[in-house]
Symmetry: C2
DNA sequence: ATTTAAATGATAGTATTACTATCTCATAAA
DNA sequence: TTTATGAGATAGTAATACTATCATTTAAAT
């Protein structure tokens, strides 16, 4: 039996659905690889076109600009992560156990998911760490938010907020603590690998230390 | 008596010291205003030159590119903030009180500091919130780090880490908790104003709520 | 199997960005 | 008064971020 995971994306993010065509899938696949390789700033549609033996104009048929493409792949990631959270907490009754699972899913490098052939989730995870916040750190964040481009991110945070409230229904800051651990799962990883003086695990460079730190932090906060 | 605050900057950040000339000061002053107005992505030396009735080439004599300029002004901010932390904790004996002061200094909008005529610290604070992390979220962060461009940021975090250890010498994650509260002081503010669903203070949009949240978080963590 | 539509390729062109170079003029320190 | 330094003016180039058009291939519908 072969299962295929299809994540329905906000249609305003693209001009033509990249999931539905060969070129579209190649755009997603190789934009992830290219952004990971050279960073989002030096990523251009021209370079991407050369990489996949297509043309710049061809890519512009799918995405208005590279920022929309970044929002597309980050949105995809958050949706996929929420899906993983749901799957992995389905049979877990204890809310504290759920929370531990969430922290692990957030802060641990993922394996490449076979049910999505053209997306390398492990590399995508690296992109989210280094480029993810650039999706919303813009002057047009308000309009983008009105178009619901950050829906998947907010949904994930809401879900984690609910788990926090399951653990302690009187906790005052479930949403802020959610966004804190989501962001820090990525930032502490980035710091660990690039600015180690900003963390306590620069020597080992072991992401399980990030998990330990976040777990301790979140349980202390809600207790 | 008139006091002037001069912050010594890493000399590799600029080609010519902007603090020493009239044009240099105008570059700093108006780049802050322009980045705040239009965002860092759409900020160009051409536009800045028009703003100050100078030329593009003139600005390139001071800064290699706009990213160096961003690192310059963010570095300046972190240095200035560390200076403020030192001043405001000088006569405070209780480490817990020091910590509260730090959180307040991090998360509260600053008043424009009269001792630095050409820098509007209040607007600079807004820039740090929206653009600050772009200074290090690059592919060249490692080389930039070798050039000590993030020294002031790391110094500030180290200082906060020391205060955390004063409060609880056995706490295991002083550096990570420092970078967490520094980043969250800004991100929670950004979320509150732009993506309120990610916080618990979107309704009030009151930055003292961010202070309350961070205080509770940090004291829970080190207890 | 044939028609028709949709997707892609090929090519061209424009405005803006991100620089570098050079030459002159103003100014202020030596 | 010399002389360095700062700043204005102008020009030019390669890359980026697009838009437009037309031909061709591929896939879907009849």
């Amino acid at each position: 039996m072969e299962l295929k995971l299809y994540i329905k994306m906000n249609e305003k993010l693209f001009l033509r659905d990249p999931e539905l065509t060969g070129l579209g899938k190649k755009i997603i696949q190789h934009s992830i690889l290219l952004i990971h390789k050279n960073g989002f700033e030096s990523f251009t549609f021209k370079k991407l076109a050369e990489e996949i033996n297509s043309t710049e104009a061809g890519i512009y048929r799918y995405f208005e600009n590279k920022h929309k493409l970044l929002m597309y792949i980050t949105s995809w990631y958050w949706s996929w992560l929420e899906y993983r959270v749901i799957v992995h907490t389905l049979n877990v009754k204890d809310p504290a156990e759920k929370l531990k699972m969430v922290v692990r899913l957030l802060a641990t490098t993922v394996q490449d998911d076979i049910s999505t052939s053209h997306v390398n989730e492990s590399i995508l995870h690296q992109i989210i760490i280094a480029e993810g916040s650039k999706a919303y750190l813009t002057k047009h964040v308000t309009e983008d938010n009105k178009d619901h481009f950050f829906g998947p991110y907010k949904d994930l945070c809401a879900k984690i907020g609910d788990i926090l409230l399951e653990c302690n229904p009187t906790y005052k800051y479930p949403k802020s603590l959610s966004s804190t651990i989501v962001e820090m799962a990525h930032f502490q990883n980035f710091f660990m690998n690039n600015l180690p003086a900003l963390t306590d695990f620069g020597k080992e460079k072991d992401e399980s230390k990030v998990v330990d730190y976040l777990e301790e932090l979140v349980f202390a906060a809600i207790q």
